[in-house]
Symmetry: C2
Subunit: 378 residues, 2 copies
């Protein structure tokens, strides 16, 4: 008898986990604060409730055998209580606690000799201003809130000492800005017995203003040596955490050819959606394998792939409509995925499109055609 | 706003349709007589009720915009009433009516000059006996019940005139047995605007006693000429029916090199499960495309594939256990799919395994390893 699984969070990542769970007939309970969350109709049991409330998370955890997350902002105290009582909670609460707080996360890299941009911890705005003046070599830098930043919120660029008063008046980390050539990501899986398996390195192109992945290409166009570094760092990071589950490791390749950790997520990640179609094992199946302590799956790609996020068009708020969908569906190897969010808002992630082709040039042409071909409007 | 869809039947084919529907965030209602059917937790609305009861089917159809099936044994009168009232019912009730009855089906091939084994219609046992004695050239033959045969039930082999009294005492069809070299299948999709797209021809190896697909290989190992015939016949059959949706066309390749239609199914089919992983568009996505009148998807295969049905082990009846699953999960390109049936019975279809490999020999080795490696026991 397979265990009953629970997911904290019922958004698009949960949805894709549920889709992968169908193959193995897994029983999955989902908790989400939104009664209309994408997962609501597609799980064995859907519960509405806060992910950050101790009692709600604790009670939900009582009903399952193995508990996982699709979002980091969850009540870790409740997860630790469940873990103490013998529940399998993966990723482990201790890992989530470190990753939830960018200060602990950066300190973790330093403590474990994992390469990351230079930084200093700051207690509040006054402390940040003081440290900026004492340590101008850190500039230009980003000041990041320790907790509760997400998708570009909670990050402030400090270009010169004159910007110092833009720092957040809360515990944060001041991190030297990396003059990067490319942004890369490697998704790693690690199971209970310590087996580790990585997905091929991908290359992300972020939206210039939104701090959201705009395009992704897999594999990344990098040298074998850089690829080896990226893969090794991702493995070392997963081993350092001792994580059970997926760890998405976002990396900078700087202009001097160094690979540095930007940040990590202990769950399926936007940078692995293309693996549903493009790789032998998808990141979602791999997550189940890892937390069920099954053998990890082969991660080879069938073909090069790309991914575009479908963001709500600027100036459109209301019930969503997908302009250009029919044309998209005429293109071979183009796979739209809609998250089931009824309401679109400017730049809201409404879905994504995976694009595949055996030929990289054709792949790029298809990506351009998709980019201009579909719009999420009202 | 996409329409609300309904599926008559909540078994494994429905389950795989639901899995494909997640990508496009389709709202799907399901009707099944079994409150524990595989689809029960994975659709927008699950209804328990008979598929053959007029009122139940009619009422269910009222709640959706587009109605489809995953099994042919449904109340066609109710579907015709819904169609008359303007509901989109795909496949069309008239098509289901013909296919439900092997007599009408065979007559349809004859009327449309579609190649099929010689046959005669029989009214009852006495008539069958009389026709057998009058037409010994039809022997050896199969006597098939017109209606309600399924997976080997309702089929009786009549080798010689001495077997004539084994014929069913009900309307049937006496069909000359084909001395076949191979059994092939082609899945065709046709949308409302008449676009037609076929999947590559596959080769099926049936279990010697059970009349269930034991192995499937895609693509079939046949000459280009035979492949062209198979593909052309499948297209012609879909066009002759004017079907909207999928049509799975099972074919015999006889020892003289003729391709003959065996039977068809107006829905996703066991011979297309491998398309989930192996082809650009799966048969399940293709079915949604067809009945939503979207452009049909590209059906190219990434790699050769095989499929094995997971049948309940003989002598085991009770809660199912999958012996050897962990070993299976160590094999790259091996994809088990379990249908969520709690109870296993001898030879019950409990799931299937898709196997992929770029190399045909390695593919065959993997198939053998899977065949001996996993057992459905209690």
């Amino acid at each position: 008898m397979t265990p009953t699984l629970g997911i904290l969070g019922g958004g698009q990542l949960g949805l894709m986990l549920l889709q992968a769970a169908i193959d193995w007939n897994l029983r999955v309970h989902v908790l989400d604060p939104d009664a209309d969350a994408p997962c609501r109709h597609l799980c064995t049991q859907f519960n509405t409730g806060s992910l950050t409330d101790y009692d709600t998370v604790y009670q939900f955890g009582q009903g399952v055998d193995v508990l996982t997350i699709e979002i980091e902002r969850v009540n870790v105290d409740a997860l630790e209580a469940l873990e103490r009582e013998g529940k399998r909670v993966y990723p482990q609460p201790a890992v989530i606690r470190v990753i939830q707080d960018k200060r602990l996360q950066k300190q973790f890299y330093r403590d474990n000799n994992l390469p990351t941009a230079d930084f200093t911890l700051t207690d509040n705005r006054a402390d940040a201003i003081r440290q900026i003046s004492q340590n101008p070599a850190l500039l230009p830098a980003f000041h990041k809130l320790g907790r509760d930043g997400y998708d570009g919120r909670g990050v402030q660029r400090i270009a010169t000492a004159a910007d110092a008063d833009k720092a957040f008046d809360a515990p944060g980390v001041l991190e030297k800005a990396v003059d990067f050539e490319k942004e890369l990501a490697v998704i790693v899986a690690r199971n209970e017995r310590g087996d580790v398996q990585t997905f091929p390195t991908v290359e992300m192109v972020f939206h210039p203003e939104l701090n959201l992945v705009e395009y992704l290409f897999a594999p990344a166009e990098i040298t074998t040596d850089i690829d080896r570094q990226a893969q090794a760092i991702a493995r070392q990071t997963a081993d350092a955490f001792g994580i059970v589950g997926l760890l998405a490791v976002e990396l900078f390749l700087d202009k001097a050819g160094n690979v540095l950790i930007n940040e990590v997520a202990p769950r399926p990640h936007n940078s692995g959606h293309h693996t549903i179609q493009a790789n032998v094992t998808s990141q979602f199946e791999q997550h189940w394998r890892a937390i069920l302590n099954y053998p990890l799956g082969n991660t080879d790609a069938y073909q090069p792939a790309a991914m575009l996020n479908l963001l709500g068009e600027d100036g459109h708020t209301g019930p969503a409509r997908y302009e250009g969908l029919e044309t998209l569906l005429t293109m071979p190897g183009v796979f739209p995925f809609f998250y089931g969010k009824a309401i679109t808002k400017p730049f809201r992630k409404m879905g994504h499109v995976t694009v595949m082709d055996a030929d990289m040039d054709t792949l790029r042409q298809k990506v351009s055609a998709v980019k201009t071909g579909i719009r999420v409007v009202t």
